[in-house]
Symmetry: C2
Subunit: 131 residues, 2 copies
DNA sequence: CCGAATCCTACGCGATACTG
DNA sequence: CAGTATCGCGTAGGATTCGG
């Protein structure tokens, strides 16, 4: 036990404030990419190939153009997806996961693995949200 | 109570409806465990050992007792943490991660890994939320 | 110290309609 | 088709207060 530890109220006692945020923020970033009502489904939809706007929307019932538009923009900002504009008539637009976007796959797989075990353990009969 | 209406969802065309939700729901469950403003910090705080209510609260600035109480309950419901009541005077209460709760570590580590790379790639200079 | 109860705000998201 | 604009609701989360 160290004697220098008294005023670090922001983090677990053995971590400096800076250390703590360094641990925390990246995890939050990753979480932020995947959370929300539609992000995951949109990403998964795109893992199966290029898709057009309406095509994605049709595949995900309940998804409104407003939300789809918003989510696709965030995917672009984060370089997880690209927007292709083909100069046809009328113009054709397709969205595609970037190679970088595909690096999410192992992560999603991990979440799926843990989530599956968790379902077996807890959720199956008694849970409130995630419906 | 009745919440099983998700079976009518459509999915990427090559997946059956059932297949799709089987892929999706567990991931959402896992995400749900970790998302929210405080869950992660509380879990991390508890990875370093048993903690008392106020102790956790002091370690996480901005966290109100209401939220802490709520989050701890969810952790209990999901068997990720346990509440110990010691019959001292006044009563002493401690929270502790369960072994099961510690199975989140690799998952969080994965999120941290991906998130760190993502920070380097994108976020560092330009982002809107979570930072 | 460990919470519960109450009130309030901000924001994600849905519904609907409209534009190019 | 590929989006935008406007309105409104539900709920996560904040501030404050009270009780054991």
């Amino acid at each position: 036990m160290e004697a220098t530890e008294h005023d670090k109220r922001k983090c677990p006692s053995h971590l400096s404030t800076g250390e703590c945020n360094k641990q925390l923020l990246p995890v939050k970033d990753a979480l932020d990419i995947l959370s929300g009502k539609w992000k995951l489904q949109i990403i998964l939809s795109l893992t199966f190939g290029k898709k057009r706007f309406r095509q994605i929307q049709r595949e995900i019932p309940g998804l409104t153009p407003k939300m789809l538009s918003k989510e696709l923009k965030e995917l672009e900002i984060n370089e997880l997806a690209v927007r292709h504009v083909y100069d046809t008539l009328p113009v054709t637009i397709e969205y595609e996961l970037t190679p970088y976007g595909r690096t999410l796959k192992p992560l999603i797989a991990e979440l799926h693995k843990w989530g599956t075990k968790h379902r077996k353990r807890i959720i199956a009969g008694s849970r409130k949200k995630s419906g």
